[in-house]
Subunit: 129 residues, 2 copies
DNA sequence: CTTGACCTTCTAGTGACTGGAACCCTTATG
DNA sequence: CATAAGGGTTCCAGTCACTAGAAGGTCAAG
């Protein structure tokens, strides 16, 4: 399986897969011509990474998760710990974004959006918060 | 007013203010010894930037907003347009994060988090989505 | 034999800072 | 007068997770 095929199978761009090899997340073999060959296991790992990344896990967390996945003697507590930390981070971002959304939503509603210069958005930005 | 003072007044780190000068958002004068001197107007601009950034506007949008703020003949429609685009981006991120939160929340709940290896989180990650 | 689609490596850029090194200026103190 | 503390300055490198692009090798089809 070459890089394009495994990319199509996992939804990852070839560039990303090369990057993941660079940082040691996968280690595909090479053909005599230098081309990467991806085994079933490589493909599996890449799919795992794609899924974990799509849930927003940082790449370093993905590395840890992959190691735990490989470790058949793992404790699920270790996995849960990583997931909980990430969940907390997501919640932090959600809170922050919601606050922005609220404020900005009100301001946009209040703005006439015509050709006059008067603007509550600018007024807010110019006001020391 | 030197950089530390204006930083304290606006809540911006000195490094950030220097960076903003680098990219042309403010242009403080210099004393004979090379130190930056911030005028009232500089301070005002920096406070504006701090507020706009805290609402999540990208720096380039901040630049546009600042220009509109300075332009007394602006149309509020131009401001509103920038704000609406940013609002759409915030909503996009909120949707994405909420989906992550939902999935991950369920998985974390389902995971025993003990010393056994069985783990629904890893099971999900290993499952082609 | 050439064309086109693959593949390779390498460098540099993204956004918005942030850390750190190396050095200058000013003021207070021993 | 030396020095130490606490400002200021510049410049370079690093962050995160890719992504764009250049320059070139390989391979199957026509």
């Amino acid at each position: 399986m070459n890089i394009k095929e495994v990319g199509a199978a996992t939804g990852l761009p070839a560039k990303t897969i090369r990057y993941y090899e660079d940082i040691g997340l996968v280690s595909p073999n090479r053909q005599s011509n230098g081309y990467r060959v991806f085994s079933e296991n490589d493909q599996h790992k890449l799919a795992f990474l794609a899924r974990a990344r799509s849930l927003g896990f940082p790449v370093e967390s993905c590395r840890s998760l992959l190691a735990l996945y490989d470790d058949k003697g793992r404790a699920s507590a270790d996995v849960k710990q990583i997931a909980k930390e990430h969940l907390a981070e997501i919640d932090r971002k959600l809170t922050e974004l919601s606050a922005m959304r609220d404020t900005l939503g009100h301001l946009v509603e209040a703005c006439a959006g015509d050709d006059r210069p008067d603007c509550p958005i600018l007024k807010d930005l110019a006001t020391p918060s």
